[in-house]
Symmetry: C2
Subunit: 438 residues, 2 copies
């Protein structure tokens, strides 16, 4: 079919009064009255009313056959109509092309529970403005992160997700058949971004999938999610990494606030506040002291913070500094990976941090140990077998610069920024232990 | 250690004559003479000469202990020295900090073969300016692609790489254990980007890893590579997709030419020519006729083009049109997936294309069949079982708009653009049937 008019978005109809245009979209609602037929047509820019007076003709029959969510292209005249609530205009149709008729009834509606909505995620996202906005915001957020990273010397890398050996610990890694051998899915780009640093890539930036075979069923865990990774060469200390991250986040959040702040306020009812830098910092030891003085004494969590502890310390920091973000620094070596650098005078600690935003962990980072002998000793102290890591360990033998970096979860940042209940809402298609479809 | 001077890049030393600065980098070369010690220090911006007159002091001993590729931080005075070939200046060291002493000898040198160089990829990339430049260019290329896509209404999506069922055909898919069941690695974001279209995401853009379990050992195949995917809703026909791609590529190539054209010419000896749009198009039937008239008659390749056919038809198009790019259109239905739309009057063909650049396939695209009944019939005609694809087929039941898209290989684009011999040079860490490390 040749179209003599090109597509106009519903949000642009005001500029086409008294012209004949085509709009394409979904049937958001149908009101078929005795004398009149009304279609509310929705596209990604908004909605418009299509008004047809019954005349017994073919157009009437086509409109009568429509169903909610059918995909249609409607050509008609744009008429200024002050009485129409939807933009004060209507489209008087001349032709209606049914591109894909939706079956009835739809498999989900406003009463459908969250798990069943995930089964029909495409319809759920299509019909909810909140869901649509998540991905619009995600796009701008990524642009903001990337902009900062590129302006500050990063190279965008794509490191392999297929590894010959399980990276950091065998337990949480997916294993697959790889021709006549086995491969593993990368839990993070950790080893490879360090390899890039050793390869002379001065600053590494990567956004890509990471895979965790953890049987976690919380609202903040997924088995596959989008990681934002940075690795910086020639740093003086871990402070350089934290300074980079707070500036990068402040830049990206400012961009989101500028572009979407108003719509986020309307749709999600939350304010995107641009954080001031530097973000406040507190050592893990101080955080523990504060929490324990406040009565926090969870079972089984001795050196780390549990989610309740994270929320409490974030509340404390907010009270003390007015800031939504908080770096927790100097995690004990016992709960950090072997490759985190340790202070010369405190081998029980690491030069590492987590970043909390409104009490949720959104980033882990550290200076890495780049001295081969120290690194080997730290691996041995953790009881690790160094043989499978030989390719990784080799990078420290031939002039590896001092470096450090961070890994952030894109979904977690979105979750906090938009006040989402669950990480499931921050991914297009969530993956969890019980969720591998659609 | 507290540094009283912050890092200066070797390329910026000219602005610091007679000042004391610190430079950080690798020992590119050492010349230890009887009276003088020279170090050529390399960082990602260039090189500089460090000149020290032997005095029997501790600095002399440190310089004497250096090895090629060691990572060092050198603090010293920048001296204007017209006799020094390298930038007409030298650094007279005051202190030398050995951050990571490289073992000797290095495991690779200029005589090392390509496979062994891959084993030591981090050293190979670090020491070769060509390898470094690949990733710098990749970063700009991606920025250019993304810029065009975002300015033209795309949303950046991250679709799952873990699938519950093998996507297009079971044969070339990696399978993994997923808790108490099996999962598969996505061969492409195909089904999911179509799902995003059905979810009301008007235009989808994704850069991410794709996985192919093909035992291919050519210079242009990898088991994991970076895909650039686009999917456009509400298209009139496949021409909309081709027009989008040629504009997007022209924009991105222009950006690369502008930013790196001169350096690419120096380092790779190739000219990055910005292509004119539209790119020439030729149907597969015409292409076959031209090739067969020219004596092309390969065994076993009847309806498709083999790599030789691709090179020949590209040469023909170049001769006819002067253009390096060529769209081959209307591939036979027999060699295209079931979801490619077919012309109403030619059910033996598809509304699809490949894009060749200098004779190498860099993209496959098509309009997709969005009509549920037609799609089902096409799947059945191909002898496919529709049961495992139910989640995918569901998206066509409730108002799926007409749409089409493309999938391009980022490495292949780089390969052609820079005249690389192999896709192995276009990835940081290549993955092939025999290559899962480092």
């Amino acid at each position: 079919m040749i179209h003599t008019t090109s597509r106009v978005l519903t949000s642009d109809l005001r500029g086409h009064i008294d012209q004949t245009v085509s709009v394409s979209g979904w049937v958001n609602a149908l009101r078929l009255q005795r004398k009149m037929q009304f279609v509310i047509l929705r596209d990604h820019s908004g909605m418009a009313q299509v008004t047809h007076k019954r005349d017994g003709g073919p157009l009437e029959a086509v409109l009568e056959s429509l169903t909610p969510e059918s995909a249609v292209r409607i050509t008609g005249r744009v008429v200024d109509a002050a009485q129409v609530k939807l933009g004060g205009l209507e489209l008087v149709p001349e032709s209606v092309e049914v591109l894909n008729l939706a079956e009835t009834p739809l498999p989900i509606d406003e009463h459908t529970g969250p798990e069943h909505r995930l089964d029909w995620r495409f319809l759920d996202v299509r019909k909810r403005e909140t869901a649509q906005l998540v991905f619009t915001v995600q796009t701008t957020l990524e642009q903001g992160l990337r902009e900062y990273a590129m302006e500050h010397g990063c190279t965008e890398m794509h490191t392999p997700k297929l590894m010959g050996t399980a990276s950091e610990s065998g337990a949480e890694v997916f294993k697959l058949g790889y021709f006549d051998r086995s491969a593993y899915l990368a839990q993070s780009p950790q080893f490879y971004k360090q390899m890039a640093v050793a390869a002379g890539i001065d600053r590494v930036f990567e956004i890509g999938p990471v895979f965790r075979a953890e049987p976690s069923f919380t609202s903040r865990h997924a088995t596959e999610f989008t990681g934002v990774d940075v690795e910086l060469s020639w740093i003086d200390d871990v402070e350089d990494v934290m300074a980079f991250e707070e500036q990068m986040l402040a830049h990206a959040i400012a961009k989101v606030a500028e572009v979407h702040g108003e719509r986020i306020r309307e749709v999600f009812g939350v304010e995107v506040a641009v954080p001031e830098t530097p973000f406040p910092r507190i050592t893990m030891a101080e955080a523990q002291a504060v929490l324990r003085a406040g009565g926090w004494d969870p079972e089984g969590v001795k050196e780390d913070l549990d989610p309740d502890g994270e929320r409490r310390i974030a509340a404390h920091m907010k009270e003390q500094t007015g800031h939504e973000f908080a770096f927790i620094t100097h995690y004990p070596a016992s709960i950090r990976p072997f490759y985190h650098m340790r202070p010369a005078d405190r081998p029980d600690l690491t030069l590492s941090f987590d970043l909390l935003w409104k009490g949720l962990e959104v980033t882990t980072g550290a200076q890495r140990e780049h001295r081969s002998d120290v690194l080997l000793k730290q691996a041995e102290d953790k009881g690790m077998s160094t043989e499978p890591m030989q390719d990784y360990l080799n990078i420290f033998r031939f002039g590896c610069p001092p470096h450090g970096g961070l890994g952030a979860g894109l979904g977690r940042i979105l979750m906090v920024m938009l006040g989402l209940d669950s990480i499931r809402e921050a991914a297009f298609l969530f993956r969890g232990p019980n969720r591998l479809t659609p």
